[in-house]
Symmetry: C2
Subunit: 291 residues, 2 copies
């Protein structure tokens, strides 16, 4: 079944579903049995916490979630190693690398204070921020995924306060790379090649990585929009330079360090993709206006 990343229309955070069939019908989690909905190529778009693994650790805003496979569904005992090649596990790794949002739902069977009293509750979108292979309590390898809840969502109901991870929380977030369905479309068009320098970053498994850069920044006070004509596919270095005023784009799409310097590159475009000229003008004005 094709993956849909995000909260399905008509579904809200905190919504309770009667059972897995109900959850499936709403488009939250298609499989009736598996805890993970995913494939290596597309990524995973949804998981359900149902208390099947001893290593699970649900802290509300972040979750340590055990991958799939290797345990007996009746006894809940592990009898063989989990594998990173299993579709669900491989899907969560792809979602980590591509920054795809994963829907999280908690069954009343999950042994956590965030589980609902009955049925299954949708908890919103999380990002897979890490994974680790460890030897579990029963002597077999298990894969632990860390999921962190995306900000800017409604709070979920629970009978416990979310916990803060002390080490994680000592640091601040100095730069956030924002992604969206439209950004993924533009990045895919360029096969993750930077439109300025042509570089592509490649992961250990051969996945390609790039970033969707909004030329006129999103939201208030800039009021840029999340449309293709305001997006570029860039490597992290050129994305960062764009965001900190370290480069300027002319009306002819030549790229220089400042508007008065000679261009060092030209933006490369493919197929249907265009950049609205008012957006590059806005960006120059934002960083290089006389004021």
């Amino acid at each position: 079944m094709v993956k849909f990343f995000g909260t399905p229309p008509g579904v809200h955070v905190g919504q309770i579903f009667v059972d897995r069939a109900d959850l499936r019908a709403a488009g939250v989690h298609p499989p009736l049995m598996n805890g993970i909905h995913g494939t290596a190529v597309e990524g995973a778009d949804s998981i359900v916490l149902a208390g099947g693994y001893e290593e699970d650790d649900d802290q509300g805003d972040f979750i340590i979630y055990t991958g799939e496979g290797g345990n007996d569904s009746t006894t809940k005992k592990q009898y063989k190693d989990q594998s990173v090649d299993s579709p669900g596990n491989a899907g969560l790794i792809t979602s980590q690398l591509l920054g795809l949002p994963v829907r999280v739902s908690r069954s009343h069977k999950a042994k956590t204070p965030f589980a609902p009293p009955a049925g299954i509750r949708y908890a919103g979108l999380y990002l897979v921020t890490d994974h680790k292979v460890v030897t579990g309590s029963q002597g077999f390898k298990v894969i632990l995924f860390r999921l962190d809840r995306l900000p800017e969502q409604e709070p979920y109901e629970s009978n416990a306060q979310p916990t803060v991870d002390p080490v994680y929380a000592t640091t601040t977030v100095s730069r956030r790379v924002r992604d969206s369905a439209m950004a993924r479309k533009v990045k895919s068009l360029y096969n993750h090649e930077c439109q300025i320098c042509g570089v592509t970053l490649v992961t250990n498994t051969g996945l390609r990585y790039s970033e969707g850069a909004h030329v006129r920044p999103l939201g208030k006070p800039h009021l840029g929009t999340d449309v293709a004509s305001n997006l570029l596919c860039l490597c992290p270095n050129h994305h960062t330079l764009l965001d900190v005023g370290g480069l300027a784009i002319s009306d002819e799409y030549a790229v220089s360090f400042t508007p008065t310097m000679a261009p060092f590159a030209e933006l490369q475009f493919k197929q249907w993709h265009v950049m609205e000229v008012s957006n590059v003008q806005y960006h120059r004005n934002q960083w290089f206006s006389a004021n």
Copy 2:
């Protein structure tokens, strides 16, 4: 007065101070009159919202904050342009570019549902995520800063629900660059030169930019720590590659795309900085273990 980035010891989110002298004594906001505590070189570490500007727009989790200068403190009327060279405004721009956390406090005088009934309330740490020069309602230029609240903090009290910025919220955060006091120290030691390729990114005003990369990831499940011997100063491209398993570091600090390929670089070290070899081993095992 020297800048201190973060929440001072003994101060907590939601704490109410009697007046500006009390706020100053606690180390939250040193100046008694100015709304911004900052300089161009160090950045700004604290602001107070006190309702002095018509363009302010406080939505709780994000704030549009007007820069300093150009208005009459008695009549609150603007009589000249604000300047990006004023220390407070320049400081907030530096904080934006370097990703420094800014303390936000709200006076009861602020015209916002998040203001306390009396005194001044500390609201926690925010990041400056954007700035924009506009012509204000009185015909003079004003500088609008956007501040977004850092996640993983205690919620603040208020008589209103924080608002979500609709365009901003349509996107997800696919990659967060975590920063810390220790990361800033390491980056400063290298003057923002990437320890792998030697590249430095430079902003429109000549500020240098790099990222502090934790080799063994922070927090659960990896349990890496925020210490210099687990940190590298990298450009965004090499930081991203490190984070997605796109490179491996040998016990001799040679850098290659995978452990079995020939190295393309060697980590460069300066002065007191060392990398704990168990951290590069952990990273190789995380991404390139046989499993």
